[in-house]
């Protein structure tokens, strides 16, 4: 057996639940995952080669064939397309001398599209190896490509001063953190984590949970489940082990707040996780970090190591007798893994398909054990709640939405970036704050959220009872073609559907066909009615959140901007349906005939 591969298996103690890591190690070692490697893995892990292929083929970033010395992933997102994506794409194709989805003749460059990589405030952006390049222009692309051709490593180009990859300086030399305001809860400087944890561990786990409950904080991932209740259930749940997972998959297009939290307040997050572990008596924590954030990995490892060195992680933490440690689990490119049960499957080395609920993770999660999954921001907030008390937190924001909300603002505004607002601010106030000119529509909570009309919804409050928001705010001004943006969002869901359940897998495609038909001017009122009917079907019957929300780009714009659709409707001529393309149907014969006549005359 290949020695390097052997080492990789050893490092992962030939544990099939670590398959995601094993596959990453192999790909980073060899550039791709070969048949031979899979064959050896199947031996070592007692999985059939095709079983391993199941997992490999599920994730966007795994490759089973060489794809160039440098694989370049250009972010294809609605925001990117508003900021020069196409010109950058063309420039890349020209510089790399190959098309997207292909490898250059000299095998140096492979070009591919990828969905939102969490840089919406500085797009167009692309991933090259472990680093990213932002605010791209054709000129910038030219110089980056020149450096790469000259043999420079991507990291050296992105980080010219050569900062250590374990440092904040390194991360910030690659991406801007873009914090735009000062908020009431997060990003507090100069915290003494040792003292904080000391006092935290001085309390009884029930007191911790009570504090969290009193704070009335709800999950920051978007679903808004009361965290106190979740922790209470976690504490009560029985299991040989229990697990604390931090969901840092942040795949929702337009969202990048977690990236910024992990950059500026990583220890807040770690602290929150430790409290969680202490509260439910768990010994292990996992940070599920999306592969798009690889440039944060070393830095976060260093933060974890600092905590270990200071005795904040490990065994008998600060003499409390409480053991807890945290590992980072990298993702591999699958939006669906933002769903907590998909994320858990992925942590176990499998395809990221959502589980059937019940049982819930709190009952049977990671490795079948009680598991708490919370969002990065939730843990960060809790690190403050335990310090300042649940009441303090509950007094911020509104009755049902306590504390603050981090907003990732992008699109048509003067100052995109990260804003920490108190719940209860109106949409118009937010738009003023970020300097939005002539805003027409705002996509709240990303494609899976809702598209609201500034004219109709400007005075609505951002809070769970009114305008619920997971932190993503994409602003589209009056010049934007909203229907085309809807088409892009539907395409996104079709690409990211795991396909396990029928309504999402099949319905998404038919819904995309509908919006394309509308854009082509071949739709009639019946098509719009069917959009509503089919959308309701997906919402009601899909297995997970992806499917239940995948129709929302159409449904919410149809609700808020019906005139855009009406203007596109076609009048049927004669008896033929507008959707039937007569010329395409019969014209094909002319092409086929001509082609064959030429062929025959040769």
């Amino acid at each position: 057996m290949d020695q390097k591969l052997n080492d990789i298996l050893l490092q992962n103690n030939s544990d099939k639940t670590r398959l995601i890591n094993i596959l990453w190690d192999i790909q980073r070692q060899y550039g791709y995952i070969s048949r031979e490697a899979v064959a050896q893995l199947s031996e070592a892990l007692n999985l059939s080669p095709m079983d391993i292929a199941e997992t490999i083929s599920f994730y966007h970033f795994y490759r089973t064939k060489p794809f160039g010395e440098h694989t370049i992933y250009l972010c294809d997102s609605a925001i990117g397309r508003m900021n020069g994506y196409q010109a950058v794409r063309d420039a890349l194709e020209q510089e790399a001398a190959t098309g997207f989805g292909a490898v250059s003749a000299d095998e140096r460059f492979g070009l591919a599209d990828t969905n939102c990589i969490g840089l919406s405030d500085q797009e167009p952006a692309m991933m090259v190896g472990d680093v990213v390049f932002t605010r791209l222009t054709p000129a910038k692309v030219a110089s980056i490509m020149a450096d790469l051709k000259a043999g420079k490593a991507p990291a050296d180009i992105a980080n010219p001063q050569g900062h250590d990859s374990h440092t904040l300086a390194y991360v910030e030399s690659i991406v801007e953190t873009g914090i735009q305001n000062e908020g009431a809860v997060l990003f507090q400087p100069g915290r003494d984590y040792k003292a904080l944890l000391q006092s935290g561990l001085g309390q009884h786990p029930d007191e911790i949970i009570d504090d969290v409950t009193v704070s009335n904080i709800r999950g920051r991932g978007g679903a808004g489940f009361p965290t106190g209740l979740k922790w209470r259930l976690g504490r009560e749940a029985e299991g040989a082990e229990k697990y604390i997972i931090c969901n840092a998959d942040e795949g929702e297009p337009g969202t990048f707040k977690d990236r910024v939290l992990l950059t500026r307040s990583p220890k807040d997050v770690l602290l929150g996780m430790i409290y969680g572990g202490y509260a439910i008596e768990s010994r292990f924590g996992i940070i599920y970090l999306r592969a798009e954030y690889w440039y944060l990995k070393d830095y976060l490892e260093r933060q974890i190591q600092d905590f270990r060195n200071d005795g904040l992680l490990g065994t008998d933490i600060l003499g409390s007798g409480f053991d807890f440690d945290i590992r980072i689990q990298m993702g591999a490119g699958a939006y669906i893994c933002g769903d907590e049960t998909s994320l858990i499957e992925s942590c176990e080395g499998k395809r990221g398909t959502p589980r059937i609920k019940p049982p819930y993770p709190i009952q049977q999660g990671y490795l079948g054990m009680p598991t708490i999954v919370n969002n990065v921001e939730t843990y960060a907030c809790i690190s403050q709640i335990i310090e300042k008390g649940g009441r303090w937190f509950a007094d911020i924001g509104t009755e049902d939405s306590t504390g603050t909300r981090l907003l990732s603002v992008s699109g048509d505004c003067a100052r995109p970036g990260i804003y920490e607002i108190e719940w209860g601010m109106t949409l118009n106030e937010v738009l003023d704050m970020v300097g939005a000119k002539k805003p027409m529509a705002v996509q709240i909570s990303g494609p899976s959220g809702e598209c609201v009309s500034v004219a109709k919804d400007g005075d609505r409050e951002i809070c769970y009872s009114d305008l619920s928001c997971n932190g993503s705010l994409m602003i589209f001004d009056e010049s934007r073609d909203l229907l085309d943006i809807v088409r892009q969002f539907m395409h996104f869901f079709v690409e990211e559907s795991c396909g396990i359940c029928t309504p999402c897998r099949a319905g998404g495609v038919d819904m995309r066909t509908k919006i394309e038909r509308v854009i082509d001017g071949r739709a009639c009122q019946q098509d719009l009615d069917e959009c509503v009917e089919w959308g309701a079907l997906m919402r009601a019957t899909s297995r997970c959140g992806l499917g239940t929300t995948a129709a929302k780009p159409i449904l919410t714009t149809l609700d808020k901007f019906p005139e855009l659709y009406q203007a596109k409707l076609s009048e049927a001529k004669h008896a033929l349906l507008a959707s039937f393309d007569l010329e395409q149907a019969v014209g094909e014969y002319d092409y086929a005939f001509k082609a064959l006549v030429e062929e025959a005359s040769k």
Partner: protein, 234 residues
């Protein structure tokens, strides 16, 4: 613990934690399904067994019954959703009942009858899917696959316990694969089991197919509804 729930207004005594779709069948209420097999773990892939539970639409194969649950199967809205899900399965693949050997033994077809499907409301896609006929005894007609995952979850290599059928890619690109080596090790009984388990004509045994005369095919003799209501285990 003995509890009571209502299905379409009818009071039903049952045991807490039983699966709703089974409880319904045991009480004479047929709920169609394409992936669920009584006595086997729930797959929850086809969603055709969707019903209203306390007003919310849920796949009844995933619902453990709880005391006081109010279930609506007949509700027209959710009934039409079940029908739509069956229809979209027909238009998503290439389901050519007229020449398909599984006709009369096919669960998708049988469920189509039960929901009184005439035509699919969704556009027929005519996807181009490749067949896999490399293995000795099994012909994989992917045109007909509905991704129920029965074969993936319930058929295993006797020796190693490894998967024989797997699913690769994701979303619309997903496809069922067969491990030729392991497939060729399958016993005749196991091959038949796999073919029988496939709710459509995707996994078929080579060389056979039309041996059951019309009128004597599985669902000619007894309808899927009847079989389900009689609690037949597959």
């Amino acid at each position: 613990m003995s509890i009571s729930i209502t299905i379409d207004g009818k009071e039903i005594e049952t045991e807490e934690g039983e699966t709703l779709i089974d409880v319904a069948a045991d009480n004479g209420v047929y709920i169609p399904s394409l992936c669920y097999m009584r006595g086997k773990p729930c797959l929850g892939t086809c969603r055709v067994c969707s019903v209203k539970v306390n007003g919310n639409v849920m796949a009844s194969c995933t619902v453990p019954v709880a005391d006081g649950m109010e279930v609506s199967v007949a509700d027209p809205e959710v009934a039409d959703m079940r029908k739509a899900l069956v229809e979209i399965n027909f238009s998503e693949g290439n389901h050519n009942c007229p020449s398909c050997e599984k006709s009369g033994r096919c669960e998708l077809q049988a469920v189509g009858y039960e929901v009184e499907m005439m035509a699919s409301r969704f556009p027929y896609r005519f996807p181009v899917r490749t067949r896999d006929h490399a293995s000795e005894h099994i012909f994989l007609e992917r045109d007909r696959c509905i991704f129920c995952q029965r074969c993936v979850e319930f058929i295993r290599d006797k020796e190693t316990g490894q998967k024989i059928f797997t699913i690769s890619e994701r979303g619309t690109g997903a496809q069922i694969d067969i491990d030729e080596e392991l497939a060729n090790k399958m016993t005749p009984e196991q091959v038949t089991e796999a073919a029988e388990m496939c709710p459509v004509g995707c996994i078929i045994e080579k060389g056979l197919g039309y041996n059951d005369p019309m009128g004597k095919r599985k669902f000619d003799i007894k309808s899927l509804r009847q079989r389900t209501l009689e609690g037949e285990e597959v």
